[in-house]
């Protein structure tokens, strides 16, 4: 779970979920994105960037993330373009850029965007930041803090991609979780259920018993 959903699946989902007018808008926008060459400039951005901005009112809020991600992919947006769209974006646009990272940026160059999102207290951005791209590239210290931030801000840890793989055997994460639980207990506050779940995942696997 929490592997990047294939863009073919996302597109197929949009095709069935969108109304006729919204689907026609998206088809047109994707064609514009695929045909785009060059970066434009501040005064004359490529037309697909306007489509990226207006996706919410064209497709409805519930489909905007998906529509924006397939648009970024169709435009073959590079790291520089993604960073600019993130910097100039609304919270919804920033979320879409974060979701697009695993599909468009093979290396760690997109990490500054993930780190920016993790510094916010907007839980929708935090949840989008701890996806498959963070699982693949976020260094250990920052990744542990991202898990702790989810617990602090109430983002369900189900949002954390590859939680099991990265938490497994992580004694430092276990220490941090233990300290956090102690702090909550000392304050007379409940320890979040999610904390116990992650703590259990940090345990190393039991030694394999050899058959005699």
């Amino acid at each position: 779970m929490n592997q990047p959903t294939s863009l073919t699946a996302v597109r197929a989902h949009l095709d069935t979920a969108l109304s006729g007018a919204a689907r026609a808008w998206l088809d047109q926008a994707l064609a514009e994105a695929a045909a785009a060459t060059g970066h434009g400039d501040e005064k004359n951005p490529p037309v697909w960037e306007l489509r990226f901005a207006e996706a919410g009112r064209r497709t409805g809020q519930e489909h905007a993330d998906a529509a924006r991600v397939v648009l970024l992919h169709a435009a073959r947006a590079d790291t520089g373009t993604l960073a600019r769209l993130y910097a100039e974006g609304t919270a919804a646009e920033r979320r879409a850029v974060l979701h697009a990272l695993p599909h468009l940026v093979p290396g760690p160059e997109g990490l500054p965007l993930v780190e920016d999102a993790l510094r916010t207290n907007d839980t929708r951005l935090v949840a989008a930041a701890v996806g498959p791209y963070a699982a693949e590239h976020l260094p250990a210290h920052a990744w542990r803090h991202s898990v702790l931030k989810c617990l602090f801000t109430g983002v369900p840890v189900d949002a954390v991609a590859e939680l099991w793989r990265r938490a497994h055997g992580d004694t430092e994460l276990a220490r941090m979780l233990g300290d956090f639980a102690q702090e909550r207990t000392a304050a007379g506050r409940p320890v979040p259920d999610d904390l116990q779940r992650v703590l259990a995942l940090t345990a190393p696997a039991p030694p394999t018993v050899k058959e005699s």
């Binding site: 979701h99 907007d122 996806g131 949002a159």
Partner: protein
Amino acid sequence: MRIFDPHIHMTSRTTDDYQAMYAAGVRALVEPAFWLGQPRTSPASFFDYFDALLGWEPFRAAQYGIAHHCTIALNPKEANDPRCTPVIDALPRYLVKDNVVAVGEIGYDSMTPAEDTALAAQLQLAADHELPALVHTPHRDKLAGLRRTLDVVRESALPVDRVLIDHLNETTVKEAKDAGSWLGFSVYPDTKMDEDRMVEILRTYGPEKVLVNSAADWGRSDPLKTRLVADAMLAGGFTEDDVDRVLWRNPVAFYGLSGRLQLDVPAPESATHEGNSILRGGA
């Protein structure tokens, strides 16, 4: 009772205000870009402010079950500062955003040539982006300011029925109504309008195209004035339908001219953190 506050500066308000507003019936609001009390000295400081109106503030509002939209502009006061006027060149990239439902607040402060230029340029931007405009009337020399505002609107590409003239009162309402604009009234504890005078104006001029707001900000103001006007209307013999028209349907109709209003915010506690589920491997 459902209430839409069409003009309130939530950046300056606390979470207690959001909670009290929700309890009073506020389910939607528009936060116009304006000045912050302390003058700004560079465009970058405006951009951080605009980004907050499109990022952090809607998130705060959503946590309290309130739909947050904004209007974007260079305000008339700071339009007089040459350090700030380059903001106008950057407005097009903000005016395409989903949550931007008008150009505003624009208008006059001291009625200077720099304000003339900024007002005309931004009315043109509204027309170019198919957005309505929120135009405030000045605190000083208000009637002369209204007349000059209406002249500039008539000369612009934006039809007057896509303009909300705000901070109206007994001395300015008739000319604004005769011009065919939408009519905004800010209800304050001490200045501008109060609840009872607001009811009198509604009796005299009717509820058509009338919007009532708290314009609450960092000064002495009250984010619950919209509800107090609703209560005063009911006490004064208006029907619940009249109240709904003035405090909900009129603002929805005006800002709906943008085609960008999204009023379906989940109730508090049920907000999703996940965004689109398909992107997280669920359908």
